[in-house]
Amino acid sequence: MTQTIVIAEMNNNAVHPSTAELVTAAMAIGDAPTVIVPCTDASVANGAANMGAGTVIAAKSGAFTHYDAGGWAEALDAVAPPGTVITGASPQSKDLAARIAARRNLAVIQDAVAIDGNSITSPVYSGKAMQTVSISGPAVVSVRSNVFAASSGGATEASVIDTDGNVATSVAEFMARASERLDVGEANIVISGGRGMGSPDNFVHLESIADTLGAAVGASRAAVDTWEAIPHAMQVGQTGKTVNPSLYIAVGISGAIQHLAGMRSSKYIVAINKDADAPIFQHADYGIVATWEEALPVLHTALKSMLD
């Protein structure tokens, strides 16, 4: 069987639960993987216990203090045995996957959504088509979250290996994000507004529903381009963020192909639009033909009574 290695998905210096999904993906290729946890403090590697790993290694290094693609790839490469390497598909993990692959002279396949032995499927053309490739020999594969079931059992303890890498970049300044709100790329529910919201001030109606749901607020490019108060960080789509939440609510968004590119893989899509012919309705699980002025207060009341 092919030896597999999972680079743990990290969030705020902790092992992210989606790492257990990466273990399942690795086992679709080969043996129970070696899970490697990049860390400065080896105790965080305990977070990868009971995720189905064959072995867990805490790769401990000062190089992991801030993210530097080259330094991280070098430090992880030194610890990882040969084999097929699996990472998450967050922007940072895809970047790391590409550098590890190049370091090992391997090919990299990004955003896998299905794996069957050496056959791997991922979306291409912004999700307008799926591509299946076959790999001969080891490769590096990044795997989308929310696709594979989480694995469990397996290794319960981590062994610690000290490692190092040459960190080339340095942080001159951390910049707080424009708002304290949840980022669309991280949220499990996203509610987005488009030009149909009429004015940036009306986004407060989306924000209050987002607060009820624990959701992030997103926007179409038309909204971002038209209103200065709506920052690009909120943009979903081809030239914005790609989101994969379990629920996406599009309000006053027509559903242009470039917007769909960023959200079409959401598990459930709700659309609120006053135009029954808006293309977004062809992609919605639940479509409401109404103005947002009519629909949002009703939606908010119903959600509040359900969730509070």
Binding site: Y67, D68, A69, G70, A73, P91, Q92, K94, D95, L96, A98, R99, A102, L106, V108, I109, Q110, D111, P123, V124, Y125, G127, K128, A129, M130, Q131, T132, S134, S136, A139, A168, S170, A172, E173, M175, A176, R177, L213, Q238, T239, G240, L247, Q258, Y268, I269, V270, A276, F281, H283, A284, D285, Y286, I288, A290, E294, A295, V298, L299, M306, L307
Partner: protein, 245 residues
């Protein structure tokens, strides 16, 4: 004065419908354009030249049909346009090996590229090229400044960070908070006359082969409701039928 290279790739227009026939995408009827993020890479490269002098070379790997996007880059203001002649599919390993040789031949000190090509959506090329060159890299940059050395703004943790980037380096560019310049009449005239410098570089064999393309699984038709009052029913369905609340 740095030698600046910007990578550009030809891809289907993002408005285009992608058809699949015989298990392969059929691009014969599709308009081809420069990949959208590459426009931000070109703009960043030109801003770098304006700040520190030097030359900008636009580089692509592809067939003769890709000359058009090189001419587009020329019209916007790059100095030189270079194409490494290649046909057919290459995996990331083969493509990056070719790019590394080309970037070495061009004597580049800094390379800008798009954060992800609109066809692959991968985002592998920038960091992979940097690793092969032994260079620093930063991906998904949304801004850059050039006085006192290169620094870029890129996502970091929950926010953004301004990073000092020692040269040589590869920077992959996201949509920035700036407008990309458009070609002017003079640029378009120059681009018409400009000739593409064609290189040939051997690519190693690919270990990844495309076996099939398919359309994404069709979603079952959704339910549509008329009038805002239906929002209450939808909320209920989200909980009871979809199980997402």
């Amino acid at each position: 004065m740095p030698n600046i290279v910007v990578l550009v790739k030809q891809v289907p227009d993002t408005n285009a419908k992608i058809a699949v026939s015989g298990n392969r995408v059929d691009l014969s009827a599709v308009k081809m354009v420069m990949s959208p993020y590459d426009e931000f890479a070109v703009e960043t490269a030109l801003q770098h030249r304006e700040a520190s002098g030097g030359e900008v070379t636009a580089l692509t790997v592809g067939g003769a049909g890709c000359d058009k996007i090189l001419k587009d880059a020329k019209a916007i203001g790059v100095d030189r346009i270079v194409r490494v002649d290649a046909e057919g599919e290459m995996d990331s390993n083969a493509l990056q090996t070719v790019l590394a040789k080309a970037v070495t031949e061009l004597g580049a000190e800094v390379v800008y590229c798009g954060k992800a090509a609109a066809d692959t959506g991968a985002g592998s090329t920038g960091p992979g090229l940097a690793e092969r060159m032994g260079w620093a890299s930063v991906s998904n940059a949304i801004g850059a400044s050039f006085d006192g050395g290169l620094s870029v703004i890129a996502p970091s943790g929950a926010g953004n960070a301004k990073l000092n980037v020692p040269l040589p380096a590869v920077v992959s560019c996201d949509k920035g908070d700036f407008k990309v310049r458009k070609p002017n009449v003079k640029g378009i005239m120059q681009a018409k006359k400009a000739s593409v410098d064609v290189h040939s570089i051997d690519a190693p064999a690919s270990s990844v082969t495309v076996t099939s393309h398919s359309l994404p699984p069709a979603k079952p038709a959704g339910k549509t409701f008329d009038g805002g009052a239906a929002a209450a029913e939808v909320a209920q369905l989200l909980r009871d039928e979809a199980n997402v609340l």
